[in-house]
């Protein structure tokens, strides 16, 4: 397909372009606001390029179709919002156990329950901490622009194949719905069907997968193998964006749309002479603990800016081993913290720490 290199895209659409450029073979999904444009866009573009788009009868079916496609060595993805991700968790747990790669895009909306269709970041715990049953984690990438929705979907496929694990692209409703200009990356050369894929031949019979291990020792060995994989991910894949962190007395930590509001707040605080800085985790699992530790030298206190009830604040506390106070600046229910709110809370927190 011929394409202009620079397009005006919604974050959701950018994720589909990223998937196509990364050589994604199939999309299985079930539309849900605010992630529907991913399914809409995929249904338009995937068949045109000879790839598979299939709207499943439900979220559980779609993640299990992803399981099948991944087992056959294809690059597969699905997308949903928090409610759908809750349903998909069983399949994700199976994929993590069978060490199958895939990319799952989660466009978070207001919760709990049916909630509303406003932006929230309340899927943090269910996505970053594993979410389904069993001792597993998934790599989680947190974009904060339409450009990053595209780039991180490409990166997601690379990481998923490298570590053979499901990868989440975790964004809030604003990032999914926002129109921004996107420069498309060069297409990735379509990877070969991997050695471990199933194709029906006699040779591939040894690649049959199972996630049932009735011997306790066998299951423990599998768990230990997974944990060592997660340890190597923690060592190698931590990424974050730093903004005025060198001499920051108060470090704001935020991802997604909250990070863009917090960035403006930090800039305005610096204009006022207040030494604020922003650390934006790009990978939520692994959480950028190394960079967080480096801020301990100058920081007096930390502020978690999130659109949830203090879900990320736990990871910040663990990241700095609870050595400094960590406060919460939070809005919920589809509301976004304003620049003024964040500035007021930052000043208040910093004064309390002095």
């Amino acid at each position: 397909m011929e394409y202009s290199n620079r397009l005006l895209l919604k974050g959701n659409e950018a994720a589909v372009y990223g998937a196509l450029l990364a050589g994604c073979d199939c999309f299985f999904g079930y539309p849900i606001t605010p992630a529907s444009e991913i399914a809409h866009s995929a249904s338009l573009l995937f068949p045109r390029l000879g790839r598979v788009f299939l709207q499943a009868e439900c979220e559980i079916a779609s993640i299990n179709m992803v399981f099948g496609a991944a087992a056959a060595g294809r690059r597969a993805m699905t997308a949903s919002s928090g409610l759908g991700i809750s349903l998909k968790q069983e399949g994700v747990s199976y994929m993590a156990t069978c060490e199958l790669p895939c990319v799952i895009v989660d466009i978070m909306r207001g919760g709990p329950g049916l909630g509303n269709i406003g932006p929230e970041q309340s899927d943090y715990n269910q996505v970053v901490k594993g979410g389904g049953h069993g001792n597993y984690r998934c790599i989680v990438l947190a974009p904060n622009s339409a450009q990053e929705m595209c780039d991180f979907t490409v990166k997601g496929f690379e990481l998923a194949d490298k570590y053979r694990t499901p990868v989440y692209v975790l964004a809030d409703g604003v990032i999914g719905q926002m129109l921004e200009s996107v420069t498309l990356p060069e297409p990735v050369k379509k990877p070969d069907i991997p050695e471990w894929a199933l194709d029906g031949s006699a040779r591939s019979r040894r690649n049959f997968l199972t996630s049932i291990y009735l011997e306790h020792d066998d299951l423990e060995a599998l768990n230990q193998k997974l944990q060592s994989k997660y340890d190597s991910i923690k060592k190698a894949e931590q990424t974050c964006e730093k903004y005025f962190l060198d001499d920051a007395e108060i470090v704001l930590v935020a991802y997604g749309i909250a990070s863009r509001v917090a960035r403006t707040a930090v800039k305005k605080l610096r204009d006022k002479g207040i030494k604020a800085g922003l650390l934006r985790p790009i990978t939520l699992f692994p959480f950028p603990n190394d960079e967080l530790m480096k801020t301990l030298g100058t920081a007096k206190t930390y502020l978690s800016v999130e659109m949830s009830n203090g879900q990320m604040i736990d990871d910040i506390k663990l990241g700095i081993s609870c050595r400094k106070p960590v406060e919460l600046c939070s809005r919920m229910g589809g509301n976004i913290p304003s620049v003024d709110e964040i500035m007021d809370k930052t000043i208040e927190t910093l004064e309390a720490a002095k």
Binding site: G68, A72, D199, G200, S201, A202, R205, F208
Partner: protein
């Protein structure tokens, strides 16, 4: 597998009779219509799918549609091997 399909190669499915539950998904999935249901039952009391004996292209559609792990294997052989070994 169809990518490696050359004229010198012959493909055929081997259906493990006792694994088959008779769901007929492979029969429906086969683009060449070379699978059919056997009238008899297997040891578990299910009807089972069989290959009619020719024209398989090795596309794997039956394998991918089969819900029973390993009930279908696609065998790839050269023409000469086939004459010697195939029943």
């Amino acid at each position: 597998m169809s990518e490696t399909n050359k004229k010198t190669k012959v493909f055929f499915p081997v259906i493990a009779k006792e694994e088959c539950k008779g769901c007929e998904r492979c029969v429906t999935a086969c683009p060449k219509s070379v699978l059919r249901m056997e009238s008899g039952l297997n040891a578990m009391g299910h009807p089972h799918a069989v290959y009619i004996g020719e024209a398989c292209t090795g596309c794997g559609a039956c394998f991918y549609s089969c819900p029973e792990p390993g009930a279908i294997t696609i065998i790839e052989e050269s023409d000469d091997d086939e004459k010697k070994e195939r029943k």
